[in-house]
Amino acid sequence: MIALLDNLNYAVAMILFCIGFYTVIMRSNLIKKIVGLTIMQVAVFFFLVSIGYLADGEAPTVIPGAPPPPMVNPLPQAMILTAIVISVSTTALFLSLALKFYEHHGTVDMDKAKEDKR
């Protein structure tokens, strides 16, 4: 339990991930499913950026001439930076598929679309 308090960021990321996962598996509304997927993505970003954190670390930007202060790990930041932009565009792809689903079935709810078919 104490160890979990040290790693509060990790714990929050895990709980966020589970909230997103629950949303994805339980909601039949496609838009809500996409929101759940986005929450899961954000949880992973949060976890990875937290891994690179250094207590009292500065942003990883070197000022020429000055002695470098302790800086946070730049690697997760660089990875997540691209991942955020990619996640925005893939979310747009999900949303466009949901839009087509709506144009076809007249609803974004998967259960309702199934009932209509019968």
Partner: protein
Amino acid sequence: MKRVLAILFVSALAALLLYAAALLPPMGDADNPTNQHIAPRYLERGPEEAGTHNIVAGVLLNYRGYDTMAEVAVLSAALAGVFAVLGKGRTRIGSTFIDGARVEFSIVSRIAVILLVSFIMLLSIQVILQGTNLPGGGFQGGAAIGAGVMISTLALGFGRTQHRVPYSLRAILESTGILAFFVVGTIGVVSGANFLTYTLPGINEQAQAIARTTMLIVVEIGIGVMVGAVATSVFFALLREKEAHDVDRAA
């Protein structure tokens, strides 16, 4: 029943993940394996090896340039997917939900939005250009460009924004990121260095530094313009025509 099962499953997953999180080394400790592995090398020798004072940009463009190039390609692929599903967003002017809104934006808020968007665009240009040495870079600046276009569309309507960034222009801008990577990489290969090392062998050190900074900034600008254009195109493609939609529903 399904709900209970789902809650049980998700709780078990949460317990497992939290147990794993408790076993990880304490966050922010300088002795963590993640902070010991490769980060010290990046932080110590980044400015000299990658040519950027902003180490994140150095990792992104130089140390892991191939990775970033492929991620930019993924961006193009996602955009191609949106276009394949929805069409290219050639909606008729003045027919979207935004243009057909019942409540018009007042003149005050429209002028305020025009002012705001001009400052957002200035900010994004600065963020892109300072990316090699200060916090910033192509991805962030491009996202700001996209946000500016979206705000402008919401306030001024699709028609008035769209003719400033027509499809024919965006089609070219959407490929600038990969093009910049390929051009810069190929210049390096032609002059005898490796792909994407941002070096030109056979010139003196001072010219080398200038050439490297120029190449890095060219790639940053390419990425920034591309991300902005992709965000704009995706947003425009997701806008639907009002009448066409109503006709679809009636049929």
